[in-house]
């Protein structure tokens, strides 16, 4: 009976490769323990809203105007070897704002969009030049009041869904004054 091994791998046992949640092989990665929550939230938000939502993790970015491109004086002798490698400085505006003429900032109040990673106190970026599609996070006005919600459609009527189960969807009917003001393309916050 020596063909029965003790422990270890047996051929044909366990779940089939690629049959899990992700439909492919998975890989364990290491992240700092202090930031697990943040990274989980970030990944979650990507899954919920597609990849257009910009969520900013801290420590990016210096501002454009403070640094000069060629600031090394060369009184004599050896020039700075770095001068040839000066590239442009990262600018958050460039990252967050696609079209500055039609982009506005608004401040978030409340938790109704918290599962979409839009928190109380965040500054949301609104682009009016984008055509709103079903599933987009939009800034809409309903009977004169502004609200940020996920745009949905139910029986050919627009519907505004919160991203927090404690809140109710807003059902829009013909008697309401309803306008989509712009599409939310990101949110930023300072810690």
């Amino acid at each position: 009976m020596d063909y029965i091994k003790r422990g270890g791998f047996r051929f044909g046992s366990g779940r089939k490769a690629g049959s899990g949640y992700f439909g492919e092989k998975t890989k364990v990665i290491r992240v700092p323990a202090s930031r697990v929550f943040e990274i989980k939230e970030y990944i979650k938000s990507r899954y919920q809203t597609g990849s257009t939502n910009a969520i900013i993790l801290p420590h990016l970015t210096p501002e454009k105007s403070y640094l000069n491109l060629f600031d090394h004086r060369v009184p004599a002798g050896f020039p700075s070897p770095a001068d040839d490698h000066v590239e442009k400085v990262l600018d958050l505006n460039e990252y967050l704002v696609a079209k500055k003429e039609t982009t506005f900032f608004v401040k978030i109040k409340g938790d109704s969009m918290i599962d979409a990673s839009i928190h109380d106190g965040d500054i949301a970026i609104v682009d009016r030049s984008k055509q709103a599609k079903i599933g987009d996070i939009v800034l809409a006005s309903v009977d004169g009041d502004f609200t940020i919600k996920i745009l949905a459609k139910h029986l050919s009527q627009p519907r505004l869904l919160p991203a927090n189960e404690k809140f109710q969807p807003i059902v829009v009917n013909e008697n309401m004054q309803f306008e989509i003001w712009g599409v939310i393309t990101g949110a930023v916050r300072k810690f």
Partner: protein
């Protein structure tokens, strides 16, 4: 072809962008100090509120129809204006921004003018919620006239191509409009033209330009040529520099003490000299004027103005302020309730072309200080570094009781959304 793009009821339209409750309601926007009505929604126009009237004269209509009254919010209007102008500039290689809410553009390169006008209109509505009218013609005067027709003719969808209308039709339209509807024809000129039996736009178009030139002036002759499709006013190149800079305010509350006026003059000099430096100019003299209210009963009316020339052209705040305060000291009188004060910087020249005065002390060192102050104020807040006599919140400040927030220019005043 030239198009004039003009935003309808601009200030009201800006207010509506950030406050949907104002949509479809009668609204008016007031001038500085909440004095006169300077922008009206269509609803406010239709109940008979006139342009430019003082608020108190329209008060009964306002109460009766529950008209919403707002103070002017210039930071917001300026920001929206520059967004509009940048969007329009994408359609042309040559744009002349004529005022805060209108610009001329050259349509060369576009074949279908109707289409391009409709696209501009649609884009400004979708992207900024600004309703506009577009007038098109071979000259600026005709484009402007087309714009006027587009506003009046509701079934034209806010677009008028004067070049596509038949001569017969456009003459009939011109016959209906009074001559003062022509760009550049004001109240006084209208009276003069009326004396010459010129009443309608058509009358002016058919007048003899050479005759008019000898009777009135060359500018009127140019307008006649332009009405006939001959270009006399080409689109201006780039930004024209201001020839003089005026900064003045009517006080929210009358000022009688000297110190209050010193603060006001200081504030105006700081503002005006910043504008001066921003456009790269130097000035050679400053005027200071003060006046009391001519309407206040039982008080003596006093106004005075003084001009002080400098030894050489300058843009130095400190120096201009010193001279201005000397001037104020000369014209100031006790026991007067002042309601308005201002300064005018004139004889502006280009910084680059300035001649150095042999006998004028070199102020270059001081100028560096001023530039550093400008730089710091530009980077942080406009009042981070101030002169000591410049008040933070002046007692004579503007009355702006119903101003909406500066939604687009202040982090503290962003629109808050649930």
């Amino acid at each position: 072809m030239i198009a004039l793009v003009d935003i309808n009821n601009f200030y009201v339209s800006c207010e509506r962008l950030f406050n949907p409750k104002l949509i479809n309601k009668p609204i008016v926007v007031l001038s500085n100090n909440d004095g006169c009505i300077i922008s009206r929604s269509e609803e406010a126009k239709s109940i008979g509120i006139k342009m430019g009237v003082p608020l108190f004269k329209a008060q009964s209509l306002i109460n009766q129809h529950k008209v919403k009254v707002l103070s002017s919010n210039y930071p917001l209007y300026a920001d929206i204006s520059s967004r509009v102008m940048r969007l329009v500039s994408e359609f042309t290689d040559h744009q002349e921004v004529y005022s805060i809410d209108e610009c001329f553009i050259n349509l060369a390169g576009h074949n279908n003018h109707q289409d391009i006008a409709a696209t501009i209109k649609e884009k400004l509505w979708m992207n900024l919620r600004m309703p506009v009218c577009v007038g098109i013609g071979p000259t600026k005067v005709l484009a402007k006239f087309g714009n006027h027709c587009a506003k009046k003719q509701s079934d034209w969808n806010g677009i008028c191509l004067t070049n596509l209308l038949s001569d017969k039709f456009i003459n009939a339209v011109m016959n209906e409009f009074s001559v003062n509807k022509v760009w550049g024809v004001g109240k006084k000129l209208t009276q003069k033209l009326n004396l010459m039996n010129i009443y309608s736009v058509l009358d002016l178009k058919k007048s003899n330009a050479i005759h008019i030139k000898s009777e009135l002036n060359i500018n009127v002759a140019r307008i006649i040529y332009e009405l006939n499709g001959i270009i006399c006013f080409p689109l201006e190149q780039g930004l024209t520099k201001r020839k003089q800079i005026v900064t003045s305010r009517s006080f929210g509350r009358a000022v009688s003490n000297y110190q209050g006026l010193v603060e006001a003059v200081t504030t105006f000099v700081v503002k005006a000299t910043l504008k001066l430096r921003n456009q790269g100019s130097l000035c050679s003299k400053v005027c200071i004027f003060i006046r009391s209210s001519p309407f206040r009963k039982g008080t003596h009316f006093y106004q005075n103005i003084i001009t002080i020339p400098f030894t050489g052209p300058t843009s130095n705040t400190e120096l201009i302020l010193k001279e201005s305060l000397k001037g104020l000291n000369i014209i100031y009188k006790h026991n007067i309730l002042y309601v308005k004060c201002g300064i005018i910087l004139s004889d502006l020249i280009d910084e680059k072309n300035s001649q150095i005065n042999l006998f004028f002390e070199d102020t270059k060192k001081d100028n560096n200080l001023i530039f550093i102050i400008d730089k710091i104020n530009n980077r942080f807040n406009s009042d981070t570094l101030r002169l000591a006599t410049q008040p933070l919140s002046p007692t004579w400040g503007m009355r702006q009781l119903k101003k909406s927030p500066s939604y687009t220019t202040s982090w503290k005043e962003l629109l808050v959304v649930n």
